[in-house]
Amino acid sequence: MKRHPAKSARKPATAQPKPRPDALVDPALLQDLIAVFQNAGVSDLEVERNGLRIRLRREGAAASSPALEVSVPVPAAGLTAAPTDAPTAEPSTEGLVTVRSPIVGTFYRSASPYSEVYVEEGTYVKKGQVLCIVEAMKLMNEIESDADGRVAKILVENAKPVEYGEPLFLIAPGAQPEG
């Protein structure tokens, strides 16, 4: 395993909290994620499941193995941020879940030009709910939300091309307020 120097330099800032016994990382899941990550050629992958957030990030284009961060947010602290200390050109995603395009294609906010958009900014969505379609070669990819929460930002205009791994939506995790 090659280690990127920048990674160890900021190790203290990302000290891993002790996993809670009820939220232990399943090694098989981790293996799967790493495999997906390495095959997909993306630079950043974040998965949240049952309060456990796993983030894989490639440091620099030359890195051959993913850097791995595992954090277990305290339940009820809805806006616990994943450790992000690298400055980025993307909008502030502190505490937000980024939904990315799994393929290169064309972004559509509705199923057809004549139907209503799937979501607007401010819409509350459930994990697994369809947010948009990305089309490539008549393969219509329904892109689903990775989290329960509010659509904080739609990052792409309708019918525009999107790149592999391009951020499409920011979701602010949390349940819809009552009433």
Partner: protein, 273 residues
Amino acid sequence: MTGLPTPLALDAIRPHLATRVIGTTLLLHDEVDSTNRVLADLAHQGAPDGTVVVAESQTAGRGRLGRTWLSPRGLNLYVSILLARTLPPETVTWTPMLAALAVFRAIRTLTILDVRLKWPNDVLAIRGGVGRKLAGILVDAVGTGPTSGRAVVVGIGINVNMPLDAFPKELRATATSLLIETGSPVDRGRLLATLLGELDRLYDHAGTHGPDDIEAAYRVACDTIGKPVRIELIGSEKIEGTAEGLASDGALRLLTKNGKVLEIRAGDVVHLR
């Protein structure tokens, strides 16, 4: 009196099915809204790889961008196939072309028609130098989470025994059926079994060897490459150029008049000349 068309029957299809995966679970409905919609629901409930949904008619057969697919009862083939094995990202975008190739091969097995493909996945019958649409394919990728991958629902509509007067007037110049082209009815059960067999082989091959061989076979069957074309994008934007080749994910490389090369991943292709 030629009698009523023979209804599809599982007992008549199964003996002809020589497949490993596709059609192991085969569901036949009299009427559904859309076979893709029904199968996507089944995929979310964990339907096995290769599950097939066939219907005698569709009340809301779909094409690209919410267009409708004409689906009268008993005449044609409306079938959706679930490909749940996780294909690598560079292979999954080839799925629509892989399906088109399966349709191409199935029709060539059962008829002597001059069949060609139009990028990405329209199946055309060529008569008098003119291509008319025989079949359409619409593929929906439904997310089942980053760890379990994405399932792909391949929807295929083939105009089989539909007579010319069953097409709306505005489609008669551009659409056709096997009956119109060959002059005699085609057994839909046999066509389905042949189609699923071809798809089974291609799916198996793509899963183990990646898209390279699919691409080579597709290039041979596809009429678009090398042709002057017009691409009609969403809205009213149009681009003209020469279809130069394919990118690694199957996108069409278009050489425009001012010498730029664009990669097209969505749009309607019109063959010029």
